[in-house]
């Protein structure tokens, strides 16, 4: 795995992110001074908590990128582990699932990232959908409890796919062999994370500022048509503006960003549906203002595999 050098392009990206965060913090500060009403204060306090958390998350992400491949693999492995913990905490499991869940947390999750760290793409891509998928019901059948068997296994398999397998596609971008851009795959990861997260932020901002019509009232009452349109357009603009760090031309970058943002939007909706079914608003309280880890990465879970495969098919050798 190549150590990612912090080249000129990475420096510019870092400076850009720093500028955006500084502007956000400044706006947050002035809104805090201005706001009078009780309800407004609550909203602005949450906004400022979110911005503060963004500083922390951005710094961690950049540190991981700067240490090269291995840092990113470890970071996403931790994210998967914490996301799976939030998911299983919220999902009712049976007493008899205990051993299967232990395997999921302490063997299958780390193994997936070990495979990626050692460039075993061929195995990494089938380990969870094939072997873990078969292993979970086998382990549960050994545990000897048939009650709700199908539902119990599906919950664990689903959790592994969403929280571990799909998330692992993000650091797997570092395995791609893109001709002419050797050692620069960290920027693909940056492109993916930047577009998904900013698309989320812009959906939130446009929704709060102009949101009128609910887009999925039953599933996620805070999501609006206006937020959706703003988020998609914003993501496409940002993606297009970042074409120079990718192997894509400007219009290819725009389409990629659209695909990422669309998948991210549906990822957010799907994970919301689970939350609503369980009667909670957030998956956890790990990230102040945002909720749990899984609330922050729901869009990434759905966008990462699609972005990886499109890049793999059309741009990698």
């Amino acid at each position: 795995m190549n150590l990612l050098s912090i080249d000129r392009e990475m420096q510019i990206l870092g400076a850009g992110v720093l500028a955006v965060l500084l502007i956000a913090s400044t706006i947050g500060f002035f809104l805090h001074l201005q706001v009078k009403s009780e309800k407004g204060r609550e909203l602005i306090d949450n906004l400022n908590a979110r911005i503060k958390a963004w500083w922390v998350m951005t710094i961690i992400f950049f540190l991981a990128l700067a240490t090269g491949g291995i840092g990113s693999v470890i970071l996403f492995c931790l994210i998967s582990f914490l996301a799976l913990r939030e998911y299983v905490t919220l999902t009712p499991t049976h007493r008899a699932d205990h051993r299967a869940l232990f395997w999921a947390f302490f063997v299958i999750t780390p193994l997936q990232y070990v495979l990626i760290a050692f460039h075993r793409y061929g195995i990494a891509v089938i380990m969870i959908p094939v072997y873990a998928y078969l292993f979970i019901p086998i382990r549960n059948v050994i545990a000897g409890e048939y009650k709700d068997f199908l539902a119990r296994n599906s919950k664990i398999q689903w959790g592994l796919m969403i929280c571990v397998y799909f998330v692992s596609y993000a650091p797997a971008l570092l395995l791609l062999d893109v001709p002419g851009r050797e050692g620069q795959n960290g920027k693909l990861l940056y492109f993916l994370v930047c577009v998904t997260q900013l698309s989320d932020v812009l959906q939130y901002v446009f929704g709060k500022c102009f949101g009128r019509r609910k887009i999925a009232p039953n599933i996620s009452p805070n999501k609006t048509v206006e937020g959706f349109i703003g988020g998609m357009l914003g993501a496409v603009l940002i993606g297009t503006g970042l074409w120079w760090i990718t192997p894509f031309t400007w219009w290819q970058a725009a389409l990629m960003a659209l695909a990422i943002a669309l998948m991210g939007f549906f990822g957010g909706l799907v994970m919301s549906a689970i939350k609503r079914d369980r009667g909670v608003k957030d998956y956890g309280t790990t990230i102040p203002g945002h909720g749990g880890i899984l609330d922050r990465i729901d869009s990434l879970c759905f966008a990462a595999p699609v972005f990886f495969h499109i890049t793999h098919f059309y741009f990698a050798s």
Binding site: F81, R85, V88, T89, R95, H98, L101, F102, F105, G284
Partner: protein
């Protein structure tokens, strides 16, 4: 030292959150009584107490279980400083109250699980009478109901390896034994006070 490290590990492993709903973490001596479904119950309750409080809070545990085996014995005696009591053949000579009351009078707090053992069912069992006798012997002590959420999924009874699931510990409003309150009435009230925390 081992205790502080272990507490930090438990907090990290279970991401446990303390919610002081009915009282604040205070220095006065107390009896924390909680539901009991897992060996992790005590660990999560103990690990969310602020450091200074934890040093002066001792679990009440069954001596038959915690004196069996070297590791259990070391943990119970040296790390948790448990007050190990007889739960099977209680006689006048080994009456647990003779051990517990001096601890409270010395200013330390206690953690007890009045169901008398771990349950696998979702319903709590009826409380044993120890809590009543403690309240009677040391009337000025606050009896704090505590509900421990999810520890049974972290480590169900009979399992050896824990899962890293998120737990929470909810502290309710302290009770005291009312004058002329009967044993049964008090124990029912105390059990209801823990149950009332479930939905908070």
């Amino acid at each position: 030292m081992i205790a502080a490290l272990l507490a930090a590990f438990v907090r990290l492993f279970t991401g446990v959150q303390a919610r002081w709903v009915g009282c604040t973490p205070g220095a006065m001596h107390r009896v924390y009584f909680a539901n009991h479904t897992s060996n992790f119950d005590f660990l999560v309750l103990w690990s969310v107490l602020p450091d200074q409080l934890r040093k002066r809070t001792r679990p009440v545990a069954a001596s038959d279980y915690w004196r069996a085996g070297r590791l259990r014995r070391f943990l119970a005696e040296s790390v948790f400083r448990g007050v190990l009591i007889e739960r099977k053949k209680v006689t006048r000579a080994n009456n647990p109250m003779d051990q517990l009351v001096p601890v409270l009078q010395g200013g330390d707090s206690l953690i007890i699980f009045p169901e008398g053992g771990r349950t696998s069912e979702p319903e709590m069992r009826p409380f044993k009478s120890g809590l009543y006798y403690l309240g009677k012997a040391v009337p000025e002590v606050d009896l704090v109901p505590v509900y421990i959420n999810n520890a049974s999924r972290v480590l169900p009874k009979g399992e050896l390896l824990p899962l890293p699931l998120l737990c929470s510990v909810i502290f309710g409003e302290p009770l005291r034994l009312e004058k002329s309150e009967s044993k049964d009435a008090f124990l029912t009230r105390a059990r209801a006070a823990v149950e009332a925390l479930i939905d908070l």
